[in-house]
């Protein structure tokens, strides 16, 4: 860990000012990802700007029925918030599938969106990694890549985004509210994270000096027919090999609206409008789910160890859609896959 300065931001504008004043500065919220990376010498901020006491902890309904969630709402509070439990249970479920109770207590919404990949080479400064050290090479490409991406990869990086929450947010069509030196803006969650391309060191479209202030959930929460299924190497407290957030609107057994986002397979939560469109108007049957899965996974490629993920993802998508259609969402508390 390096030596760093510490400043506590008094308000959002102050945080933006402090960021602008020191290009090596980093925001710190819950610290559960940033501090770990600092301990590994992966992140070496010159200054930590502590935003954890800013008044960004509200969950409020807006006039149009959307829900605005402050960037500092702890993951646990959000998962157990009555409005989330009732209107957006998919989000609650995805959050509870992540990390551990202690981590969720500390982790913030903004930090969760910004968490970095768990690629082991990214964490190990003794190995080449384009994301950590641009131009040094990608050790995972021909190395250990069992949990690496199968979609949207580039020759420079095959890392995945590890967030569970983001997968549900992608499915729900959430927006990200951002404040920065040139004012405020809003971008879709699905446009927030980037594919690695030639710049794998840039995870998101958050600009220099910008800060996430809130996320916004559109009114429709798919509270009837949803499921979040996370497949991992143990039953809890492990990052996803594959995860699926599925949300359906049903009229009888016919699908009138569908959202599917897949986690653990790409540098960002993976959605396919083609797949969702294909589901619309169809009966909620395994065949149609399977077809949607094929569309979602179009173009999937794999390296030496992660080939299994393609078929696993396909099956997980089908299963999750079935859970959603049957209104039997995956429980995150039982020691069992439904």
């Amino acid at each position: 860990m390096n030596n760093f300065q510490y400043a506590r931001a008094t308000d959002v504008a102050d945080a933006i000012r402090l960021l602008a004043a020191d290009l090596g500065a980093k925001l710190i919220a819950g610290g559960t990802n940033l501090i770990d990376l600092m301990k590994e010498n992966v992140e070496r901020p010159s200054r930590l700007i502590d935003i954890s006491r800013l008044p960004l902890r509200n969950v409020e309904e807006t006039a149009d029925g959307s829900l605005r969630i402050g960037a500092l709402v702890p993951n646990s509070d959000l998962a157990y918030h009555p409005l989330i439990e009732q209107r957006y249970p998919l989000l609650a479920s995805a959050i509870l599938a992540g990390a551990s109770a202690q981590l969720r207590n500390m982790a913030s919404v903004g930090g969760n969106l910004m968490q970095r990949t768990r690629c082991p080479y990214f964490y190990d400064t003794a190995t080449p990694c384009n994301k950590r050290n641009p131009g040094s090479g990608c050790s995972a490409m021909d190395g250990l890549n069992r949990n690496h991406a199968i979609l949207g990869t580039s020759a420079a990086c095959i890392a995945t985004n590890p967030s569970d929450m983001s997968v549900a947010l992608a499915a729900l069509g959430a927006l990200v509210h951002i404040a920065g030196p040139s004012g405020e803006r809003t971008i879709a969650l699905t446009d927030f994270h980037r594919l690695p391309g030639n710049t794998p060191h840039v995870d998101t479209n958050l600009g220099t000096g910008e800060i996430i202030t809130a996320i916004e959930l559109p009114p429709h929460g798919f509270a009837q027919n949803y499921s979040y299924l996370k497949i991992r190497d143990r039953m809890s407290y492990a990052f996803a090999l594959v995860s699926v957030a599925a949300a359906l609107e049903l009229e009888g057994n016919a699908i009138s609206g569908a959202r599917v986002a897949v986690g653990g397979v790409a540098h960002k939560p993976w959605r396919s409008l083609e797949a969702e469109t294909a589901l619309r108007g169809q009966a909620a049957t395994p065949d149609h789910f399977s077809h949607a899965a094929d569309l979602l996974l179009q173009g999937a490629t794999s390296r030496s160890h992660n080939g299994f993920k393609v078929e696993l993802a396909r099956r997980a998508i089908v299963r999750t859609l079935a859970q959603a259609a049957n209104a039997t969402p995956q429980s995150q508390a039982h020691k069992k896959i439904a």
């Binding site: 768990r118 082991p120 190995t127 250990l144 497949i231 190497d233 143990r234 696993l312």
Partner: protein, 733 residues
């Protein structure tokens, strides 16, 4: 005299542990304490060309940077570095010279006023290496395997018998490298006393082992160093040998003449020992009636370039299954890695896993129930020595375990027991471990108020030694357990070996009995001299200590209270120390046994495996404490679940680096992976092994568990996965 022995007594140290009153090695305070942080090598093989600490030394608070170039003297001879349990070879010496032998090797110690400064300053040490070619991949280097050991002499002609067998099964089973990951980090606080002597608080399984080691490594007299380790937050074998942080903390204290603490990070602990990866090749040849004609077992294991670490992976069939022909061999491949070390049931956990998977495969080939096959081959003798056992209730383990599990309701065909989306599988395996015992000395100080202090250098690594010692002492001295205080793990206390091999319960218990007998002898002398004593003329053997009195064993009413006897004799305290040696018995084999039954449920589409039930029936002689004993077995079972499904140290052989050196990515079972665990202690009276008939429970709990799960996975899915851990990608493959 058995108010406590054999009862479910709660841990006497439980309260101190859960309230934080128990202090661990990295927690002892000292005036002027400073902190060392370890700099590790980032290459697996080569030498340090230059090491530049100039920037480090500029950091405020940094006091010194110790390297091979500037450290205080260390012993030159291998003998000085060989601890009580060192394998053959030339032990690793931290900061000794410029050679790099493994990735993660300590190459410098940055010492600063506070830990954070040391940690930061450590990042500024600039190291240039001269890299050399290296190899870390056991499977890639398999052809270089050289025979190290034959655990047992071959019997008959196993190769020929295997070739002619009616039914033959031969396969490789691969067990990956695994790390212990005890909860407590490795730590040493080396306290520089005013007289220049050192008190070393160390995380270790053997204070006297560390003491002797430090004395030879630093050329000190025994009185110059004292090693203390009152509580250990798990070690599982990783603390049997002195670990490098104790050398570094001591070096620091000697260099600065100050108290120094060194605490390793979780990541750095992956540079210590580990369970070696092994390729286990098992061959079984059977007659069509299900009796065995040949057993072969060859293990190929990783070790370092500098030491030959080898354990008995392969010999266990000699104890379990009768076969006229057998051959065992343990081979080593030397790689550019640190030396492996013991890890819970070393050898057996891996070797029996392979053997028991192979037995399951044989039972399928023979169309025999797996228990029936094992009963057909049941061996009443240890075949290698042709000896009977002191006791062996393994058949009872099979019977009681099967009954509790409901084994008779198993439908033998794979994939035949479905429940919704899940395939249900039932598997079983046998476990076996040694019943070892070692010389241990105990001191008892009895005061006339009926309190006793019982002390011994043995460690309690979380297994419950404090409690066992207190129980046995309370019974042997006839006192309530509240009146017994136990002191352990101080090198100045009476002799004890490292705590390992499951030998400490039996060994410490009998040492307590021996010392208590000395106390009783003295009390009898005092009581017998009292006027009109009811014990006048009584022989020692006819007396017992009961309810605070010394009494005639056949008539407890003829008694003198301890207080009266001591008052009359004019003594305030009776202090006795006794070294207990077990009588040598070359006429028996000594083992513990278990039968483990597992139920798994495998999601057919997704490959997710859940271990929903385990029944472990254990025969281990008399169980001294059924509560801590049960916990011990449960811990072994949970670890066995991990060995079957989760644990694997993953290395990138291009860099020779471990890539999951943390407990986020190195998986062990979490609560959600653990369901019902039923522990059964089978009655096993043992008149031969020792007075109390105790065998020890530390390791038997894990042995057999991974195989029972693997066999259940086969039964569920019809898929035989011989490469551990059994992850879902292998199930889906």
């Amino acid at each position: 005299m058995n108010a406590y022995i054999g009862t479910p007594t709660s841990r006497v140290d439980g309260r101190a542990k859960v309230t934080g009153a128990a202090k661990y090695a990295g927690e002892f305070p000292a005036g002027g304490l400073v902190h060392g942080f370890v700099v590790e090598a980032t290459i697996p093989c080569g030498r340090i060309a230059t090491i530049d600490a100039s920037e480090t030394l500029k950091v405020k608070g940094v006091l010194d940077v110790l390297t091979h170039a500037n450290r205080p003297p260390l012993a030159d001879k291998d003998e000085a570095w060989k601890d009580e349990v060192a394998p053959e070879g030339s032990p690793f010496r931290p900061l000794y010279d410029d050679k790099i032998k493994f990735n993660g090797q300590p190459i410098a110690l940055v010492i600063a006023e506070d830990w954070e400064s040391a940690k930061f300053a450590a990042t500024l040490v600039r190291v240039e290496y001269e890299q050399q070619g290296f190899a870390t991949d056991l499977e890639g280097e398999r052809s270089k395997a050289a025979e190290k050991d034959r655990p047992h002499k071959p019997r008959g002609d196993a190769a020929a018998a295997l070739a002619r067998a009616d039914v033959r099964h031969e396969a490789d089973y691969v067990i990956p490298t695994e790390h212990h990951n005890p909860m407590e980090l490795y730590a040493t606080t080396a306290i520089w006393e005013s007289d220049g002597k050192l008190t070393i608080y160390d995380k270790t399984q053997g204070v006297q082992n560390v003491h002797k080691f430090l004395c030879t490594v630093f050329d000190k007299k025994p009185d110059d160093i004292r090693v203390v380790s009152p509580y250990v937050g798990g070690a599982f074998g990783s603390g049997l040998r002195p670990q490098y942080q104790v050398v570094l903390a001591t070096l620091g204290a000697l260099a600065l003449k100050r108290s120094v603490r060194v605490v390793l990070t979780r990541q750095q602990m992956y540079g210590l020992g580990y369970r070696p990866m092994t390729i286990e090749r098992v061959g079984l040849g059977a007659k069509s009636d299900g009796t065995l004609d040949a057993v072969t077992h060859e293990a190929i294991a990783v070790t370092s370039r500098y030491e030959d670490f080898a354990r008995n992976d392969t010999g266990w069939a000699e104890q379990l299954y009768s076969s006229p022909n057998s051959r065992f061999s343990h081979k080593l491949v030397h790689l550019d890695v640190s030396t492996p070390c013991d890890m819970r049931a070393p050898g057996a956990a891996s070797g029996v896993c392979a053997l028991e998977c192979a037995m399951d495969e044989l039972s399928v080939a023979l169309k025999l129930d797996p228990i029936e096959l094992r009963l057909k081959c049941y061996s009443d003798r240890d075949q290698s020595e042709n000896l009977p056992y002191t006791s062996k209730q393994l058949h009872e383990c099979y019977a009681r375990g099967a009954e509790a599990f409901g084994w008779s309701r198993r439908s033998p065909a794979p994939r035949s027991m479905r429940d919704g989306k899940e395939l249900v599988g039932w598997g079983m395996a046998t476990g076996v471990w040694e019943a070892l015992q070692m010389p241990v000395a105990v001191r008892i100080v009895l005061t006339s108020n009926g309190h006793a202090e019982v002390s011994c250098a043995a460690s309690d690594i979380g297994t419950g030694t404090y409690t066992i010692v207190a129980q046995v002492a309370a019974d042997a001295l006839g006192l309530p357990i509240e009146n017994i205080s136990v002191r352990l793990a101080d090198s100045t206390l009476p002799q004890a070996p490292v705590e390992g091999g499951s030998w400490m319960a039996a060994s410490s218990a009998h040492a307590v009995l021996a010392a208590a007998e000395e106390v009783r002898k003295e009390l009898l002398g005092l009581a017998g001299k009292m006027p009109g004593s009811p014990l006048a003329g009584a022989e020692l053997a006819d007396t017992a200590l009961i309810d605070g009195s010394i009494a005639r064993a056949d008539d407890n009413s003829r008694a003198v209270t301890i207080a009266d006897a001591m008052r009359h004799g004019g003594v305030e305290r009776i202090e006795k120390e006794k070294l207990n040696q077990f009588a040598e018995d070359k006429k028996h084999a000594r083992n513990t046994h278990s039968a483990v039954f597992a139920e798994v449920r495998v999601d057919e589409e997704l490959g997710i495996i859940r271990v929903t039930r385990i029944v472990s029936a254990v025969a281990a002689g008399r169980i001294l404490n059924t509560k801590t004993g049960r916990s011990q077995i449960m811990g072994g079972v949970v670890w066995g679940i991990g060995m079957a499904l989760h644990e694997e140290t993953v290395m990138d052989h291009r860099f020779g680096r471990i890539m999951n050196a943390n407990i986020a990515e190195y998986h062990i079972p979490v609560n959600a992976d653990v369901h019902d665990i039923d522990v059964i202690f089978v009655d096993e009276a043992d008149a031969h092994i020792n007075k109390l008939g105790v065998k020890g429970l530390g390791e038997i709990g894990i042995v057999g568990v991974p195989a029972s799960i693997a066999n259940a996975v086969y039964h569920a899915t019809g898929k035989r996965i011989r490469r551990f851990p059994i992850t879902l990608d292998k199930v889906l493959d």
